[in-house]
Symmetry: C2
Amino acid sequence: MHRLALEKRTLGVSFLPSGKAQVLVWAPLAEQVELILNEGNTSVPLKKEDFGYWSVITDVIVPGDPYKFRLNDEQEFPDPASLFQATGVHGASQAFDETAFSWTDDAWQNLPLQDYVLYELHTGAFTQDGTFAGLEEKLDYLINLGVTAVELMPVAQFPGDRNWGYDGVFPFAVQDSYGGPEALQHLVNACHQKGLAVILDVVYNHFGPEGNYLGAYGPYFTNKYNTPWGPAINFDDAYCDGVRRYFTENLLMWFRDFHIDAVRLDAVHAIKDFSPVHILREMKEQVNQLMEITGRTHYMIVELDLNDTRFINPLEEQGYGMDAQWIDEFHHALRVTVTGENTGYYSDFTGICDLAKAYRDAYVYDGQFSPHRQKTFGVKAEDNPGQQFIVFTQNHDQVGNRMLGERLNELVSFEMQKLAAGAVILSPFLPMLWMGEEYAETSRFQYFVSHTDPDLLEAVRQGRKAEFAAFLAQGEAPDPMAEETFLSSKLQWELLEAEPHKTMHGYYKKLLKLRKEFPALKHLNRKCLEVQENEAHKTLMV
Amino acid sequence: MHRLALEKRTLGVSFLPSGKAQVLVWAPLAEQVELILNEGNTSVPLKKEDFGYWSVITDVIVPGDPYKFRLNDEQEFPDPASLFQATGVHGASQAFDETAFSWTDDAWQNLPLQDYVLYELHTGAFTQDGTFAGLEEKLDYLINLGVTAVELMPVAQFPGDRNWGYDGVFPFAVQDSYGGPEALQHLVNACHQKGLAVILDVVYNHFGPEGNYLGAYGPYFTNKYNTPWGPAINFDDAYCDGVRRYFTENLLMWFRDFHIDAVRLDAVHAIKDFSPVHILREMKEQVNQLMEITGRTHYMIVELDLNDTRFINPLEEQGYGMDAQWIDEFHHALRVTVTGENTGYYSDFTGICDLAKAYRDAYVYDGQFSPHRQKTFGVKAEDNPGQQFIVFTQNHDQVGNRMLGERLNELVSFEMQKLAAGAVILSPFLPMLWMGEEYAETSRFQYFVSHTDPDLLEAVRQGRKAEFAAFLAQGEAPDPMAEETFLSSKLQWELLEAEPHKTMHGYYKKLLKLRKEFPALKHLNRKCLEVQENEAHKTLMV
């Protein structure tokens, strides 16, 4: 039987040293599976194996060949483990040898987590070019700024060529419009040669609404749980073994075959898993084994809307072993302090006292009643060091989920923005910048998609309008489908030469330099930290 | 604010030393709440407090008074924390002073868990009388048999007067047709005076389909999870604090005010809770505190369809701290060994090898692929002692969920039944008998209900027919609604005087005596146990 292998990819089409291809598909309810090439003119039957897997070793397919699978002698579908969808989510998969790249990063060693200074960016909007190649040209800029780790918003293939990335439907495939898998390998290699770590945003809690053919292959979803995106991904119901392996292989692939240093796992609170061993814990155990084999270090960082240390506690303490988590609460406390906003989830925060608590305890809610959530929320994180928490003045969500996509600098004064940046960069946590904030970029980051299904498009448009109906006074929500919405979200690099952007850029550089050079600021032990807040004067001394 | 108190009941109507009643209702979305007495002629407004509670202290209500609550000046409903529904689930609640009973069990001390020999019974079907008073008359019989703990199937108020108990809708109220709350206190007192422990079956994973008025009071349910019974009880969504407190108070009440020694928590795998602190763990922490205060000992035993030691591991090891769990797998392995059945969940078992594994490892599936579940199932339980596992040759489910409700002795020979009884009673686990098996009772235990809602009745009838459509050759499924189905499920005590029942009864007594007297058989450490199976000869040496 083909089992998950740490050393190499097993799902999908993989090339063996002999040059032959090993093909492996999980389709536990299928009666027949064939590999289809040459636009349907060549078909190779796969043999049924244990536990719903189908496989064949063949020499009819070589890297670059388009292929699909035909199920039950009926319909043809792209490969769930496709590495490249050269013609988009509905087209054929394209065979790719992920082991062929000539890496020159042997000397690279991942940074200690406490030295991470993160920079979140959207590949499409970061440069005019909107590709990995375009991004590569900016690496020196980032290094010069003082960033140590580039965090890419999801690059898994999504429908069309404009999307934040959370509508991905091929977790193993690298977005064609960004340059595909080889360009990603090239980018990571370049980062490593320059001393930058690479964090990849991966989505294991839902699939996008267009181009998801997984249902044809097997029970990837379960009705046991309801999520904002419909039925949950099946991590603990019947047939979950195949689904768990699928995502575990995916994670191992990014680390092993793309040399990714860390992943940012999207919204892991929406991964519903009551198994005795939570999928995140199982993944961590596998990654630990991979690191034993390769000698490289990899981190797992989670986006987590729960103040629950179970996720970040070590495996030995029955935790899931995640290395770090985003703490939105720090953001919310800071945001309310600088803008006074009080709607939605901001209503749980009052300002400087919450910020003081975040400095002291990481979690603001660690056992108190949350009016917004209408329940007691959180546990204490006193034993979790500062490097387990990622903080920011803004991220893609906090900016892009506003109706108009305004960045913080559009909402507060120049001086206030500087204060906020200082609060983050000099915190006893890991700071993360959102692309462009370092020079007070003025372009808004808006919600954009390029679905091709007209019904879906109309539904997204209407949904967006309804969501922001109460904000009509501020104008109309931009059309997510319009190319213009995407184009206007791109960074305007020319601003760097103008004021006040130049000054802000210099200020960020100085802050990051301070953090790097002063030992006290690199010390992420909150227990050595004194925090004094004064609500009346709205001051905070750290 | 009224908080959960360990020392006394707070929800519902409780009587103070002054004679006045303290009334507390959780209705977080209500605009107005009134206590209604005298068939609507007296109303006392409740005052809104924090966190959705409403309360008043009043002298207009005394024990025995019928009452309801009127919500929003509109409809009237019985009390969610009612102790007595003297006229059934749709009628008024009846005030009851749970502290008024004159206990005479001061000398009683709960038995060490390892000395538990359990006897599961259905109060209605155990005697002709079908009440707690009827049951009391049989206590000497049970003691003479060698039983040490009586386990009552659920007694929470259900619709009508015939029900297994899993359709309960008032977790705090004791079924009127069994004799109500005072009769239960009387029974427990009598058990304790005779040296018997009492286990109560409580259902915290669903409510019955008729007479459930909780929805009028608050968000007791959540759509986040789907269960076989519809939306899950809300243990982790918005407003869950009130729901968690409701069930925690319920558990504390049985222990504190009814002197229950242990609970058997129904199907805890269907309690969906992703909170940082699982509700079972939270309950255990509260029970530990209660035991500190009262000096009495109480156990929490769970029915659990998961081989997951997280539930039964100690709190210190991040477990939920449950004292013991039922292991259906031991039953299934034994059952397949003695009957050769192979459909449904029995298809995961082949016979004597599985039974040998159950003796050695408690869990049969502890990391293997389960064909019936279509996934890898279970973890190892090597550090969990034998007293954490309850075993049986049959229970109410294994008998009653058959179309015709046949007991094991109807399906296997007299000698085989004896062998099976020996396998359970001399096992390194806690043995449980199912009422009547000790004398090879011939009446079948069938599925019976007495809903009053005609649409629901018809649905149950049709559902039952459809469930057993494949078994038409064996005859027709008995009508769950017919009184005859209930009456014919009652024990026939006169059999005890006839053969072969008399012989079987003597045999069980001897087995239980052996278990009690031989130190080796009281030793519940599987690590001192040698098991040798021989599949060809179908023998097992322990």
